[in-house]
Point group: C2
């Protein structure tokens, strides 16, 4: 990693309202730019947007999710809106901002301005630069789910002195070739739409396809019934749901961000033996994207203390979002945060 320049844009800590600020741990959002040497695209100016939730003197837990999850992990004093992991991060939750300082980022590329191949190792370098910027020497834990788990493994491999433990949920040292094919076809859906200036429909279709990989037949069987003929066409009941999922995602996601972060997953490659950090791996039995066998292969190669927890969930890959109790139990065991 090469940090050629560093320019800060940190706003003053922002509080939503006085009462919340009084009752809640401090929180703030910030951003800064740096020139980062990308593995596949050379030196690029990137912007790192981050969020801090909790007192910086507490144990520091970096939290990262999937490619569509950003810095706003949970509602906090700086941003009262729902986060993507309120089930795990908040007062009384597994990661409580009154006992931990939660740090998180928007992935580089997430704003759509970086149109280049982004390696998960580049994300790890950006996080290291953020820690420098925040004067955080070492993370007490890195908790990553999905793409976040991949980046966590990269971080542990490259920055062994800067992370005490890693929890990697539904993400491993490699992209499975079948899952890569699935993603490549999602990117083609976007391209097919883009050819006719219909990027929204292409991106919506890509997201719908991705959703199938995040879930399981068991869930669909419980939720959806038989097909109907409507206006001379066959319509299956899940299409209404998929329409909603696709449209909502396409409206909030830059096409370039989706393409480059989807690609990034496929670039994942970590040598398990390069990691000495203690790791808790969480794998989901019905995960159609990250087979449990890959988690076992990773566990066998890791050099530090390793725990593997296998959960069975009808939500498959999305268990980290949809199985709050099981995930909370794993986090409590893995993190051992002070009471």
């Amino acid at each position: 990693m090469s940090l050629v320049s560093l320019r800060t844009f940190d706003p003053a800590p922002a509080f939503v309202d006085a009462e919340l600020a009084t009752l809640s741990p401090p929180a703030r959002v910030g951003e800064f730019e740096l020139d980062l040497e990308l593995r596949h695209a050379g030196l690029r100016r990137v912007r790192i947007r981050y969020e801090i939730n909790g007192d910086i003197r507490h144990p520091t837990v970096f939290v990262a999710g999937g490619i569509s999850a950003g810095r706003h992990v949970a509602a906090n004093a700086a941003d009262a809106a729902d986060g993507w992991w309120d089930a795990q991060v908040g007062a009384g939750r597994a990661i409580d901002p009154s006992r931990a300082c939660i740090v998180s980022v928007d992935w580089i590329g997430a704003d759509g301005t970086l149109d280049a191949p982004i390696d998960p190792a580049d994300q790890a370098d950006a996080i290291a630069a953020l820690l420098d910027h925040l004067a955080i020497g070492r993370l007490d834990a890195f908790v990553g789910s999905s793409y976040g788990a991949m980046v966590g493994l990269q971080f542990a491999s490259r920055q062994p002195a800067r992370v005490a433990r890693l929890v990697a949920i539904s993400g491993t040292h490699r992209a499975h070739p079948y899952s890569s094919a699935w993603r490549a076809l999602q990117r083609r859906a976007v391209q097919l739409g883009s050819l006719q200036c219909d990027a929204i429909d292409g991106l919506a279709l890509a997201r719908q396809l991705a959703l199938l990989s995040y879930r399981t037949p068991d869930e669909f069987d419980e939720r959806f019934g038989a097909a109907q003929v409507v206006d001379g066409r066959v319509r299956v009941p899940s299409e209404d749901y998929l329409d909603h999922i696709g449209q909502a995602y396409a409206m909030r996601t830059p096409v370039t961000a989706f393409l480059r972060l989807s690609e990034s997953i496929d670039l994942q490659r970590v040598v398990p033996g390069s990691i000495e950090t203690p790791v808790t791996l969480v794998a989901i039995e019905l995960d159609r994207l990250v087979p449990v066998a890959d988690a076992y292969a990773l566990a066998q190669g890791l050099r530090g203390e390793t725990r593997v927890r296998v959960l069975r969930s009808r939500y498959g890959h999305d268990a980290f979002l949809k199985e709050p109790a099981a995930i909370a139990a794993v986090l409590a065991e893995a993190l051992e945060l002070p009471a």
Copy 2:
């Protein structure tokens, strides 16, 4: 079913060359038109193209495959080109035209001229009409794979007196809601392409998506390696293979045929208790399209003698095409054709 008119186009039996004709069992292709009452679209003129391979006085075996498989099941005296099931149908194979008369059809809708919802039960009615046309009172066996298994179940349900036994491979009494969602998204890929007069690319993408449902992660893991960055884009090794699969399919398949036959799978609904015919069900453990659980549910509901054979194959749903030895063993056991 209503047969309002019947018009025949049967050509004289055609033989490829004199020697083959001498050595091989007789074979011929034919077609006829009829007005068929479609469940979801009323009376329609449809054309039924069929192929007969073997002496009509032998035990009659109707053979049907997936939505993209047609009447040309195997090379024969009327058409020496490779068929889609040469591994099972031919001299010395499980279904030998010197001992059986193999009858097969192009699905109604397969030529792209029928732009209406087609129920699998409509296909069963068309087959019954063909048997009338050929003066075949009763099939000794119906062997169907994938969509062909679905249609076989419809046929057994509706024509109990016309079929002595059924072998249903990788197809059941219903479309699984998750698989239906997967197909609905394939149809959306076609629509996305069609909007910009790029039906070929849309259809190619649909076929590529379908292929993922026909195969397994195990197979992709064995065949394909890690992603590469090529000209500033990430390319995964399976893309070359998928390109070939998609283009070849799109060049030979009318868009309407794909859409209507894909829809047809989603309309599958048979009450298992309506079937008294002896049935051999073959299910594949890693089938991502037809879960083994659905085969068990079907078996529990059938009223006649029922055998279930579960195979494990890294080819998943495509095992009926890619596991010739295992399928041959099942067919030999199920059909008990005279030596």
